[in-house]
Symmetry: C2
Subunit: 417 residues, 2 copies
């Protein structure tokens, strides 16, 4: 009997509230096909797990432990921000990877990540051909940024969108109560370095005239201070209080970030953040309104307690479908979500060539933003609304979400130097 | 038949996720006793509603609308931060108040607030005797700060505690995933100007060794930078990542706030905030770890989507009990929560004289903090744990919590100048 070939699965880039649901779907589908496919070995900290031969043997986990991945935020197996060197300059790193794959009988490579991660998947796919080591390479999308091309949306994004809409609505109810004698403006800072997908999704909360958010500051719309201050003044006049969503990627008229630290990550991206107090300061200096601000940061992308059921189902289904697809011969592709209809919402899983998704970004269409530039359009609302539907509460224990704790994370014994 | 006398009810100070549940309990109890007691007239924006004769007639609201108060965050009738002048210097303000009460046949005054608000209740109670206008004055506790004396805990606090424990746990799962190649430290800033109740409650999430929060920075423990940096280093060494809760009220060895703006509110309290980036900067400068930080601000106290069922039940019960108590002759008191037992958790509603609660603060006992000063003790855990038990999800519509929208807020016709 031929020995079944194993799977390498890893999580990469910024994590989400539902990336582990993808792992859950993939591992459960592999278990259901245990006559055709071997073990799922999960890389500890993404591709680093392969480079360092740190492989978590998921076959040693109980069904219950695997199931707990459905409701655990973060990247259970560890993620990484690590860019493989261009293949031309340095093949040593790739040789090491394939040495590890060979040593552990790995024939399938599943990489669960965003733009930068799909670049890794593509490079490994190309190198597998160059080195003559057959390796089925599949990208599984994941990014709260929602900026992967050729997929209608990205798993992780729907849950952030639900968190942001809920949070701006709650914060707005608070500031509305306080406005008579105290705080009149509430500012909430959200992620989104290059594109305003997250900020825009928050616009869903404004269902009727006067609802929060009253103002969204998008990276796509250069910050126009006088126009912004006039809008804030108008809001206070009409509604007594004003709730604002500001994207960390807000830029000035010259196209530069309003706030930018000097630190960069492994991919050369600047670390942003701290825009909310800047906006608060602009308002207080010019209009004397008292402001409060929140910075959501990791809370927005790890809020599994408020995950979108739609997002969770898609994340899980992509993991499961990845196994089905490779059993049917798929290779060199990233799975995608195809929208068939917005109302009623219907979707299916599709595929796109890795070469077309790696390092590419999908920007927020201008027509998802309304004409004035402080809110979303009807078209934007139609796009975002299905993604936040349904609540997917985790189990609670002692009054707190019962995350983790069931997985053993036992590593495969190393056999290389 | 004698005309039934009306109730004035108002919300005051910083609002909470469950203050409207108190309003709901009070209005429903008044409706059940419509043979003994008149209408509930809610002050628009706290005591200002009385001063300006802006009274919302809750009798015009449907039962469904009143019930929706159970799951709506913020102060539905508007809150205020407004300090009545000392009675000696200026009686005009008080005369105006009693003129309004008389004009609207008001014989009961219920003020739903924290320390400063109970000062207002006491002053009005005293003035009612001086001016010879019989007014039953009742304080109903509410403050996320949990610092009212003579009550075991304060409604609103349990829900913040649940939000903070959940959020630090979720943020910690995120940073743990990222630590291999990127962010190693996650810092979450929480409220608590004078006392570390909120920061301490977050300690509940650390159920076993290595769990987040790894470090809590309390206002009660003067910030010792070298000791703190050593602790961060130790955490990273042991757990690869470090999750920190920092209270906005953190003070240095000289007793001054680490971060303080020059702005003050109506009560002379300094507006704080912005401590998280300061802590991040201290870590990065000294230890070079990459940090991320979140500022919870209003989100922590308005997060009705994550309210504690225990907190909700207590908030509702206090409103309901307030009516029962005045029908039994109570006056000049604030309602309290008395803890009978922590395990199993048993509590009852009690009372305390207004004179003993007004302007007094209850500090976090030192023995709720552990010896090292970065976490909570067993005693602290016993105190906090019951307060976050149970989930009380709001209804959702279109994927978002369905807050507000059912109340009409019709005001009583003014009859004074």
């Amino acid at each position: 009997m031929k020995k079944l070939q194993n799977i390498f699965y890893a999580q990469s880039g910024g994590v989400t509230a539902v990336i582990n649901a993808t792992a859950c779907g993939l591992i459960q589908a592999a278990r259901e096909n245990s006559d055709k496919i071997g073990k799922v070995l999960a890389g500890h900290n993404g591709i680093l797990g392969a480079l360092r031969e740190e492989l978590i043997d998921t076959s040693l986990e109980t069904d219950e432990a695997i199931n707990s991945l459905l409701y655990t935020p973060g990247g259970a197996f560890g993620s990484c921000r690590y860019k493989l060197k261009a293949a031309d300059g340095n093949t040593a790193e790739y040789e090491r990877l394939f040495e590890v794959f060979k040593a552990h009988n790995i024939a399938y490579f599943f990489y669960n990540g965003g733009n930068d991660s799909q670049d890794t998947t593509l490079k490994i796919s190309e190198m597998s051909q160059r080195l003559g080591y057959p390796l089925v390479c599949i990208g599984i999308p994941k990014t709260i940024d929602n900026d992967l091309p050729l997929t209608d949306n990205c798993p992780g994004f729907g849950s952030v969108a639900k968190y942001i809409t809920t949070s701006i609505r709650e914060g707005a109810f608070d500031v509305a109560s306080m406005a008579a004698t105290s705080t009149q403006v509430f500012i909430m800072e959200v992620m989104g370095r290059e594109a305003g997908w997250i900020a825009a999704a928050g616009g869903l909360a404004a269902e009727k005239k006067g609802d929060a958010p009253h103002i969204i500051l998008f990276p796509e719309i250069p910050f126009d201070e006088p126009k912004f201050l006039a809008k804030v003044t108008d809001c206070i006049k009409k509604y007594s209080s004003c709730a604002i969503i500001v994207s960390e990627g807000l830029r000035n008229q010259q196209g530069n970030y309003l706030v930018e630290s000097t630190k960069t990550d492994a991919f050369g991206h600047h670390q942003l953040g701290g825009i909310a107090p800047v906006i608060a300061d602009i308002i207080t200096r010019n209009l004397s309104y008292k402001c409060h601000y929140a910075v959501c940061d990791y809370l927005q992308r790890s809020a599994r307690h408020l995950a979108s059921q739609t997002d969770l189902v898609q994340a899980y289904s992509l993991g499961s479908a990845a196994i089905d697809l490779v059993l049917k011969g798929a290779d060199g592709i990233m799975l995608t979500i195809e929208r068939k209809s917005s109302e009623p919402y219907e979707w299916a899983i599709g595929t796109a060539p890795l070469s077309k998704v790696a390092n590419a970004e999908k920007y927020l269409p201008r027509d998802y933003i309304d004409k004035e530039g402080f809110g979303i359009s009807k078209k934007g609302r139609e796009y975002f609304l299905p993604l936040i539907q349904g609540e997917a509460y985790p189990p609670y224990k002692n009054g707190m979400p019962d995350y983790g704790g069931k997985l053993q994370f036992k590593k495969v014994k190393k056999c290389l130097a």
